[in-house]
C-alpha cells in the first residue's frame, strides 16, 4: 500500500514534468495545427542553453531558463515565418510537407549540438538536485517538486494569457476560424507567428526542467517525440489545463506500472491508454468538438 501511494505521488510529479515539456506543443500543434515534430529538439536546445549559463556563470538553471526565454521567442518567430513562407503558404498538403520541414529542423539542431558540445551527457548543478524531501518513509526528490511547481505556474500563466488578453483571445480565434479573423481585419499569420513564438519561448523554461530532472544528450529529443504528442493528443488539441491533466494521468499510470507490474510494460500501457481515450472521445479528454 505504501508502494502504491509512493507510485501515485511520484506519478503526479512525473506527469507534471511531462505536462511542462508538452505545453508548448499544445499551443503550436494543438491550437495552430502546425506539425511541430521539432518541438523536442527545441526543448533539448534550450537545455543546452541553460547548461552553458549554469556552467559558465553558476546561475540557477530555472533563472537561466527564464533568461533564454526571449531568445527562444525570437527563434519561434523566425522558425514559423520560415515554415509559413516555404511550406504553409504553398498548398493544401502543408501538413505532410510541414512534418518533413520540422524533421529537417530537428536533425539540424541535433547535428549542431553534437558539433558544438560533442556527444557526451551534460548536466547542471543546483541545490535542489540530488536531494529529497522526507515525509515519514516517503522520500520525494526536490527536482520533481520543482517540475511540479513550474508546470503549475506555466499552465496558469498560459491559461490566463489565452483567456484574458487580446492577443490570447486572437490566438484562440485563429485556432477556431482563421477566415473569420481575416474578415475582421486581423492578419491571422501574424497571430500564428506570435503564438508560435510563445510556444517556443515556453521551451526555455521547459528545457531548464529537462536538464534539472535528468542529464541531457544531443539525441534525447527522440525519446520525447512520442511522449509529448501522446500527452497533447490525449488532452484534446489546444487545452492547456487538459494537457497537464492528461500528462498526470500518463505519469501516474507509468509510475504504477513501473512499481507494480514491471517497467517493460510502462510505454505500452501509456499508449494503450491514449488509444482507449481516442476510441471513446476522439476529440481527446478536454478537446473541442470539430
Amino acid at each position: 500500500m505504501d508502494l502504491l501511494l509512493d507510485a501515485v505521488v511520484i506519478g503526479v510529479l512525473l506527469g507534471c514534468f511531462y505536462g511542462a515539456v508538452s505545453i508548448g506543443l499544445s499551443v503550436s500543434f494543438g491550437l495552430l495545427d502546425v506539425p511541430h515534430v521539432a518541438h523536442p529538439a527545441f526543448l533539448v536546445l534550450a537545455s543546452y542553453g541553460v547548461y552553458i549559463i549554469n556552467e559558465h556563470y553558476g546561475i540557477d538553471p530555472l533563472v537561466a531558463g527564464l533568461l533564454i526565454t526571449p531568445l527562444f521567442f525570437v527563434l519561434g518567430l523566425v522558425a514559423y515565418r520560415l515554415y509559413y513562407e516555404t511550406f504553409e503558404k504553398r498548398g493544401t498538403d502543408a501538413g505532410v510537407r510541414g512534418i518533413a520541414f520540422f524533421f529537417g529542423v530537428a536533425f539540424i539542431i541535433e547535428v549542431l549540438i553534437i558539433m558544438q558540445f560533442g556527444v557526451d551527457q551534460r548536466s547542471v548543478t543546483a541545490t535542489y538536485i540530488g536531494k529529497s524531501w522526507r515525509i515519514a518513509d516517503m522520500r520525494i526528490p526536490y527536482r520533481m517538486l520543482v517540475a511540479f511547481a513550474v508546470a503549475a505556474a506555466l499552465t496558469i500563466v498560459l491559461t490566463l494569457y489565452l483567456s484574458r488578453t487580446f492577443m490570447g483571445r486572437a490566438i484562440r480565434a485563429v485556432a477556431q476560424d482563421q477566415e473569420a479573423l481575416r474578415l475582421m481585419g486581423v492578419n491571422p499569420i501574424k497571430v500564428k507567428q506570435w503564438a508560435f513564438g510563445i510556444a517556443t519561448a515556453v521551451l526555455g523554461i521547459a528545457g531548464a526542467l529537462l536538464i534539472i530532472v535528468a542529464p541531457v544528450e544531443p539525441t534525447l529529443d527522440r525519446a520525447y517525440i512520442g511522449r509529448t504528442f501522446c500527452v497533447v493528443v490525449m488532452a484534446g488539441l489546444g487545452s492547456m489545463s487538459g494537457t497537464i491533466v492528461a500528462a498526470i494521468i500518463l505519469g501516474v499510470a507509468e509510475s504504477i506500472v513501473l512499481t507494480s507490474f514491471g517497467a517493460s510494460w510502462a510505454p505500452a500501457i501509456s499508449f494503450a491508454m491514449l488509444l482507449g481515450v481516442l476510441a471513446v472521445r476522439p476529440q481527446g479528454l478536454f478537446g473541442r468538438r470539430s
Binding site: 507510485a7 538536485i129 530532472v213 544528450e217 513501473l258 514491471g262
Partner: protein, 429 residues
C-alpha cells in the same frame, strides 16, 4: 627529325643510366623507401562506429584509439613492406538497423581488406550472420556474447570479458564475501544488459542465491524513483545493475534521493557510462560506494609497453576531437585491436583472412592493455574485467580520476589495490 631522334636517343641512354642510378640511390635512402612505398595500395580497414546516438560517447574515443594506432603504423612506414593503413568508417547512429547495410557496403562496394566491428553489442549483433556467411575475420569491439549462438570461428573480441559467467561471478564473489545472501537484478531491456542479466541469474542459481527482485526497464525511461523504491522494498543484499549510459546517471540520482536500504552490501556491477570521463565528472560524489566493472584504470599494474605513450597522444587529441578526456574504457582497446591485426599481418606476411584468424587464435599477443590470448569462441581465455569501487570522489572535477585511488580495484586478485568498503550506504559517506 631523325637527327633529333638520334640525339635524343643518345641522351635517353645516358638518362636511363642516370635514372637507374638515382632510383637505386633513392630506394636505398629513407626518402626513397617512402616514395616507392607510396605507390602501393593501402590496407583498407572498414567499420561502422556509433558517432551519434546513445553509444556515441563510447564510439568516438574507441575510433580515436584506432586512429592513433593507424597514425603510429603509418609513421613507421606501414605494413607488408610499406602499405599504409586506411580506415573506412561510417556512422551507424548507435542503431542495430543500420549496421547490416553498412557492412554489406564495406564488403561489396568499398571492398575493404579487413573488418573491425562497431563499438558495443547492439550494433554488432546483426552483422554476425553476415560475416560468418562470407567467412570473414572480424575484430570485435566491446560487445558481449554476440558470438555465443553464431559460433563464428574468425571472431576475436578486443574486450577483456573472458568466459561469459566471469563478469557476474566476480561481482557476486565480492558481494557474498561481504555477507550478501540475496540479490536484486535491474537491467535495461536490450541485448547487452539482458545478456548480463541472464548470466547473473545463472550464476545466482548455481550458488542458491535467491533473486528477490528482477526487473527490466525499457530504454528512454525518464524517472527511476519508482523502480528504486520497489527495489528497496525487496530488501536485497546485493544489487546487480546492467544499464546503458543515459540510464546509469538516472539510476544513481534516484538511489541518492530515495536510498536503497541499509541491507545493501554491494551495488553496481554492469553499469555502462560510469567509465566515461564526462559522466563521471557530472555524477561526482554520487558515484561513491558503487562497485562497477571497468577495463583499464590508472594503477601501476596496468601499464604495459606503449600504454603511457598512447595516453599522452590520446590526451592531446581528445581535446580537439571533443571526446572523452580520460578515454580509459575504450580507446586503448581500440589501439589494441589494431595491434592484434598488425602482429597477425607481420607474422603471416599476408592479408589472407583464414591465415590471420589462425595466427590470432594460436598465439598470445602483446598489446598496450596487456597480453591477449583467445579461446575457441573468440573471447579472452581469462577474464581481465576489473571490478572497482569509487571512493572519495568529489563533484565537478575530472582531473581527480587521473590519479590512482579514486577507483579501488577489488578484482582480479593480481591487480587488486584495496578492500571493499561495505555496506553500500556507509561507503557513500
Amino acid at each position: 627529325m631523325s637527327k633529333r631522334d638520334s640525339k635524343s636517343g643518345s641522351i635517353s641512354r645516358r638518362r636511363l643510366l642516370a635514372t637507374a642510378s638515382a632510383g637505386a640511390a633513392l630506394a636505398a635512402s629513407p626518402l626513397g623507401i617512402n616514395l616507392l612505398h607510396a605507390q602501393q595500395p593501402p590496407i583498407r580497414i572498414g567499420m561502422s562506429m556509433p558517432q551519434t546516438g546513445g553509444l556515441a560517447g563510447g564510439g568516438k574515443p574507441s575510433l580515436l584509439g584506432i586512429e592513433i594506432w593507424r597514425d603510429d603504423v603509418n609513421a613507421k612506414g606501414g605494413l607488408l613492406g610499406g602499405r599504409k593503413i586506411e580506415l573506412v568508417v561510417y556512422d551507424d547512429k548507435s542503431s542495430a538497423s543500420e549496421t547490416p547495410a553498412i557492412y554489406s557496403k564495406l564488403i561489396d562496394v568499398d571492398k575493404v581488406d579487413l573488418l573491425f566491428a562497431p563499438y558495443a553489442t547492439v550494433p554488432t549483433a546483426p552483422i554476425m550472420p553476415l560475416v560468418k556467411q562470407r567467412g570473414l575475420l572480424l575484430i570485435g569491439n566491446f560487445s558481449f556474447q554476440v558470438n555465443s549462438k553464431v559460433g563464428h570461428d574468425m571472431w576475436f573480441n578486443n574486450a577483456p570479458w573472458g568466459p561469459p559467467d566471469s563478469w557476474a561471478s566476480s561481482f557476486l564473489d565480492i558481494g557474498q564475501k561481504a555477507g550478501g545472501k540475496s540479490m536484486a537484478l535491474l537491467a535495461a531491456d536490450q541485448e547487452f544488459a539482458q545478456n548480463l542479466a541472464k548470466t547473473a541469474r545463472e550464476v545466482a542459481a548455481k550458488r542458491n542465491l535467491p533473486v528477490v527482485f528482477d526487473q527490466a526497464y525499457p530504454p528512454n525511461t525518464v524517472e527511476f524513483s519508482s523502480i528504486i523504491r520497489a527495489l528497496k522494498a525487496a530488501k536485497p543484499d546485493i544489487v546487480y545493475v546492467a544499464s546503458y549510459p543515459p540510464d546509469s546517471a538516472g539510476i544513481l540520482r534516484a538511489v541518492n534521493e530515495i536510498g536503497v536500504g541499509d541491507n545493501v552490501k554491494l551495488f553496481g556491477g554492469g553499469m555502462v557510462g560510469l567509465q566515461f570521463g564526462t559522466v563521471m565528472e557530472n555524477l561526482g560524489s554520487l558515484l561513491n560506494g558503487v562497485v562497477n566493472y571497468n577495463s583499464w584504470l590508472p594503477e601501476k599494474s596496468m601499464y604495459f609497453d606503449g600504454t603511457k605513450d598512447f595516453f599522452e597522444k590520446y590526451t592531446k587529441r581528445a581535446i580537439e576531437a571533443k571526446v572523452d578526456p580520460l578515454g580509459y574504457y575504450l580507446a586503448p582497446f581500440g589501439y589494441a585491436s589494431g595491434q592484434l591485426v598488425e602482429q597477425a599481418i607481420n607474422a603471416t606476411k599476408s592479408l589472407d583472412q583464414k591465415g590471420l584468424a589462425k595466427y590470432l587464435r594460436e598465439n598470445t599477443h602483446k598489446t598496450i592493455v596487456g597480453p591477449i590470448a583467445f579461446s575457441a569462441d573468440g573471447e579472452r581465455k581469462e577474464t581481465a574485467v576489473l571490478q572497482a569501487q569509487f571512493r572519495g570522489v568529489v563533484d565537478k572535477n575530472i582531473e581527480q580520476f587521473r590519479s590512482s585511488g579514486k577507483q579501488v580495484i577489488l578484482f582480479p586478485e593480481n591487480l587488486k589495490s584495496g578492500e571493499l568498503v561495505a555496506p553500500f550506504e556507509a561507503a557513500r559517506k
